[in-house]
């Protein structure tokens, strides 16, 4: 399993464009908002965490459809499915998700503080947004794996994956933004939504790979 994680990381780092595309997209979304909303610094600070979350959510969906497609095209997926008795399929999917997150989504979390400055979010808010993204974005990848597994045989499944996955990520978005805002807006609490977010992530970490492995099993051809 460690070998699989290492291989996925190597491939991700060597092709390299996944992380860069995501970060540029994230940057584009966040950078145009101030132009659209106008130079109201208070307003920007108030909607900042939400914008960061929406940007990261959409950027996190980019490239998800390649999660299994690349392996299917070169035949690796067959061998991974065959190895079921040595490596449980769901575990293989889980490891692939973790590697995908590390390569493609972790960079988004890393640039969040910088983009938070663009939105005039105060330091506590930036910290909270980064923390909630670090905890919440794995859930998006785990949910996305289900969509990617369903669309694995479709040649242009990218949009379909996003459309399938987006509704399911709404709870993650709601609690993520609630926690990020809770850190700055006074009466709102930070910890309860943050803990629910963490619970959601753990929940999807189990359900996502299981569902995705079933989809891969029965979607074979």
């Amino acid at each position: 399993m460690l070998a699989l994680f290492r291989r996925e990381l190597q491939i991700g780092v060597r092709t390299g464009n996944g992380a860069l595309t995501g970060v540029l997209f994230f940057l584009a979304v966040v950078a145009v908002i101030p132009f659209g909303v106008g130079p109201d610094l208070n307003l920007l600070a108030r909607i900042g965490p939400a914008i960061l979350w929406i940007g990261a959510l959409l950027a996190g969906l980019l490239g998800l459809e390649r999660l299994f497609q690349a392996d299917r095209e070169d035949g690796s997926l067959d061998l991974m499915l065959l190895a079921d008795s040595r490596h449980m399929r769901a575990l293989t999917v889980f490891v692939k998700c973790c590697a995908h997150w590390t390569v493609n989504v972790l960079p988004l979390v890393v640039v969040t503080p910088l983009l938070g400055l663009f939105m005039n979010v105060e330091p506590a808010g930036i910290l909270a947004a980064t923390a909630t993204l670090a905890v919440g974005t794995p859930a998006i990848t785990f949910i996305g794996a289900v969509g990617a597994a369903l669309a694995v045989a479709l040649p242009r499944g990218g949009l379909l994956v996003s459309v399938l996955v987006l509704p399911l990520t709404i709870p993650v978005l709601i609690f993520g933004v609630a926690a990020a805002r809770g850190a700055v807006a006074d009466p709102d609490p930070f910890l309860p939504p943050f803990l629910i977010l963490a619970a959601l992530m753990l929940f999807f970490a189990v359900i996502g790979p299981l569902a995705a492995s079933l989809a891969l099993r029965w979607g074979g051809d």
Binding site: L2, A3, L4, R6, R7, Q10, I11, R14, T15, E73, D74, G75, S76, D78, L79, M80, L81, L82, A83, D84, S85, R86, H87, G220, D221
Partner: protein
């Protein structure tokens, strides 16, 4: 004693039956070549045998594999049309990954590459290789981990004469060691004593 047995196997593609009633038994050291026209279901048969596709009817059983190979899927090497190698990674890196992932290490990757005549290009990215070299690299994958059953789908497509003979030798050694081979092919593989299963004659 290991044994691979198929009983009344039927397969379908997109809801249409492509073959049915296929039965065979392979013991240690035995090989079966599957021949037939395009579309007769040779590839489908191989995928049904290893369990990548559900069997429409009948069943496949593998027995005598002990703890290491409890079922068919765990006992099979599957060499399909696609090579299952990443273009971004080096040839040897690819093989090392499959060895670690598939377990039951047999030959070290560089030795396996030497067996297929690619000993000096293990460091190159897989994407740089020619079609025949890619095929040979993926044949080397059969050697890095041990599996008693080799399921080969057009294994020699893209290979030159010399590599063909080399691969025939490798298959011979595998059979001598008590392995089994099921190969779908149009070309003669040079397997001595292999039985033949003709498919699609009735269907045409």
């Amino acid at each position: 004693m290991m044994r691979l047995a198929a009983e009344g196997l039927g397969g379908e593609r997109g809801g249409e039956t492509v073959f049915s009633g296929i039965s065979f038994t392979l013991g240690e050291g035995e090989a079966l070549t599957v021949t037939g026209p395009n579309g007769a279901g040779k590839s489908t048969l191989l995928r049904v045998i290893c369990g990548l596709l559900p069997a429409a009817e009948g069943k496949v059983q593998f027995s005598g594999g002990g703890d290491a190979f409890p079922d068919v899927a765990s006992a099979c090497h599957y060499l399909g049309h696609r090579n299952a190698m990443k273009a971004e990674l080096g040839v040897e890196e690819n093989l090392r990954f499959w060895q670690e992932f598939m377990g039951e290490p047999h030959l070290p990757p560089f030795e396996a590459l030497e067996m297929v005549g690619l000993g000096d290009i293990g460091h190159l990215p897989f994407g740089y290789l020619s079609t025949g070299q890619r095929r040979r690299a993926s044949i080397a994958r059969l050697l890095v981990s041990y599996r008693p059953v080799w399921l080969l789908d057009e294994p020699t497509s893209g290979l030159d004469k010399a590599s063909d003979a080399q691969f025939a030798d490798l298959m011979g050694v595998h059979l001598e060691d008590g392995g089994m081979i099921v190969a779908a092919t149009h070309l003669p593989l040079g397997l001595k004593g292999a039985r033949e299963l003709k498919m699609g004659e009735a269907a045409g």
